[in-house]
């Protein structure tokens, strides 16, 4: 079979059909989640409160250490999951695609280390409990005393 570029119109039609089909599949597979998220850190972390601005700085890979100079290790769930999108939008106040773009740009130009991805909230909680200097997020109902729940101060506080 010899395929030449005169099949262009056919190819375009297939392309559009595939796009429409995939659009339908993708819409059908989305499920809404309504969990409330809490930000957690390793129990020894000195910072007991964080402003939204600090939290954005940490997840945006710009703030690299806690006040006592302990390096921050960031945990995240799979960036393609709805949970991650909800956390970004509701808690961080940025969209997941913006955060992903920042991670990619910084990780592949030698400016920062990308967050560690975990596959479940249970794993996130255990990893944060075991890793000094770490930060993560879990739904409120998964919170146990093995990790510390950080108080998030909303708004932009410039008290420093």
């Amino acid at each position: 079979m010899r395929l030449t570029y005169s099949d262009n119109k056919l190819k375009l039609l297939i392309f559009i059909l595939v796009m429409i089909t995939l659009l339908k599949i993708s819409h059908a597979t989305e499920t809404p989640y309504n969990s409330r998220y809490v930000v957690i850190t390793h129990a020894d972390t000195k910072n007991k409160t964080l402003s939204i601005s600090e939290l954005q700085g940490i997840y945006g890979l710009k703030i690299k250490a806690w006040d006592d100079k302990t390096p921050i290790t960031i945990f995240s769930t799979n960036p393609l999951n709805q949970e991650h999108h909800n956390f970004c939008k509701r808690v961080l106040g940025v969209f997941a695609h913006q955060l992903q773009r920042a991670w990619d740009r910084l990780t592949y130009s030698g400016r920062a280390i990308s967050p560690t991805i975990v596959s479940s909230f249970e794993e996130m909680r255990d990893a944060v409990a075991k890793t000094p200097g770490s930060i993560g997020y879990i739904p409120q109902n998964e919170l146990t005393s093995i990790v510390y729940k950080v108080k998030i101060i909303s708004g932009d506080d410039h008290e420093g």
Binding site: R2, L3, T4, Y5, N8, K11, L12, F15, V18, M19, L22, L23, S26, H27, E30, S51, S53, E54, G57, K62, I63, K64, A65, K69, T70, P71, T73, N78, P79, L80, N81, Q82, H85, K89, G93, V94, F95, A96, H97, Q98, R101, D104, R105, T107, Y108, S109, G110, R111, A112, I113, S114, I117, T131, P132, G133, S134, D156, H158, G160
Partner: protein, 397 residues
């Protein structure tokens, strides 16, 4: 060494060994990433990345990279990346050191960080230059070619030098300012040929140059101005011995992005100025001022699927937008359409999972201004209007 599939496999095996080594030590502040991609191009006319006019298109576009980073102390950071890229050119890239740097930073408060980077550093030009060879960081298979064209890519990629930077946050505005002094890379002979013509006998040498970027992010908008100023000296038999021949190059890029939950709008404009001194025997013009622009709308209708439409336009010379002057000066060897390119693109991206991404797109192009000479050695044999279908599958770990 040619970048063959065998090399890729060998590197893949090496990297998996490295990954195991790092994960067993559980260093929280060190990480290793790898990425690779396989592209496909098919064109109605003209060649892009291999013999793409062939019936079955071309699978020449392949990329591989491996990077390692470590926070040595909270202030000291180090990172390096190697890169191999096959584009179906005669002078295919060997494995090269893409960047290797140390970064020392200080944060007087949570709202400010300043620092210095030393070594081989990616040039922070526009939104995408720093990660242009990492397939899944691109919004499309092929970046908007009016700005991120391949012809002189080694000048744009990264350079050896020093960057100083200051990141500040004021209320909800983030600003980033970077200024660098550098020695550009001219490893590829095609850079000299692209700038001075295919029959050039000498070569360009790099002098000290400058790069800068100022970015302001005020959700939902990002605005940035970046640029570079380079001077290249030419040595070759075409130049009289007592004269110094050089090319000065100045580029400024204005970048804009708007983000909402379901749509993202990206646009960039670039102004490129060349000034040639004592090079009358090599270039038809003493000065050349080109411009580039694109507007791209991406829909984020779902977590895994993104669709985009883009219009991208490039003029090599604002004084010769239709290419008539150059065509006349070169007796048609450089046809009119080699001086402009207008490209409509429609495409989609599917994030299969967090390791695999599949992208496809279709281009309708008028003009060949960014078409690589390496794939099309005779400009007079190129076609003015052409179509391109491109696909890419990429993997990262």
């Amino acid at each position: 060494m040619k970048v063959s599939l065998v090399t890729y496999l060998a590197l893949l095996l090496t990297h998996t060994g490295l990954i195991h080594a790092s994960s067993s030590t559980m260093l929280p502040s060190a990480s290793i990433n790898t990425f690779m991609s396989q592209g496909y191009t098919q064109t109605s006319d003209n060649n892009l990345y291999g013999k793409s006019q062939d019936s079955y298109g071309s699978f020449s576009l392949r990329e591989f990279g491996l990077n390692a980073s470590a926070n040595i102390t909270p202030s000291f950071f180090t990172s390096a990346q190697i890169l191999a890229r096959n584009t179906g050119h005669d002078e295919d890239n060997d494995i090269s050191l893409d960047y290797a740097l140390v970064d020392y930073s200080h944060s007087p408060s949570e709202f400010r960080t300043y620092g210095i980077r030393l070594g081989r550093i990616k040039n922070p030009l526009g939104f995408y230059n720093e990660t242009r060879d990492v397939a899944f960081t691109r919004p499309s298979v092929i970046l908007p070619q009016s700005i991120y064209f391949d012809r002189t890519r080694d000048l744009a990629l990264s350079a050896d030098g020093i960057h100083v930077y200051n990141n500040a946050k004021l209320f909800s505005h983030n600003s980033e300012l970077t200024i660098g002094i550098l020695k550009p890379r001219i490893e590829d002979k095609s850079t000299t040929k692209t700038l001075l013509g295919q029959s050039v006998q000498g070569s360009l040498k790099n002098n000290t140059g400058y790069v800068w970027k100022a970015e302001l992010n005020t959700t939902p908008y990002t605005l940035s101005l970046s640029g570079a100023n380079l001077e290249l000296t030419y040595n070759g038999p075409e130049i009289l011995a007592d004269k110094e021949a050089n090319v000065r190059f100045l580029i400024n890029i204005l970048s804009f992005q708007y983000d909402s939950e379901h749509i993202s709008i990206t646009s960039e404009y670039a102004d490129r100025r060349f000034k040639f001194t004592n090079m009358e025997s090599l270039t038809p013009f003493k000065k050349q001022n080109g411009e580039s622009f694109y507007l791209q709308v991406t829909t984020l209708s779902s977590l895994k699927f993104k669709y985009f439409v883009r219009y991208d336009v490039l003029y090599q010379n604002k004084d010769d937008r239709n290419g008539n002057k150059l065509s006349r000066l070169t007796n048609g060897n450089r046809p009119n359409h080699s001086q402009f390119a207008k490209d409509w693109t429609l495409g989609m991206r599917w994030d299969i999972n967090r390791f695999w991404v599949l992208s496809i797109e279709h281009h309708w192009i008028n003009g060949t201004a960014w078409l690589p000479f390496q794939n099309n050695p005779l400009p007079s044999e190129t076609k003015k209007t052409w179509r391109l279908f491109a696909g890419n599958i990429s993997f990262r770990y």
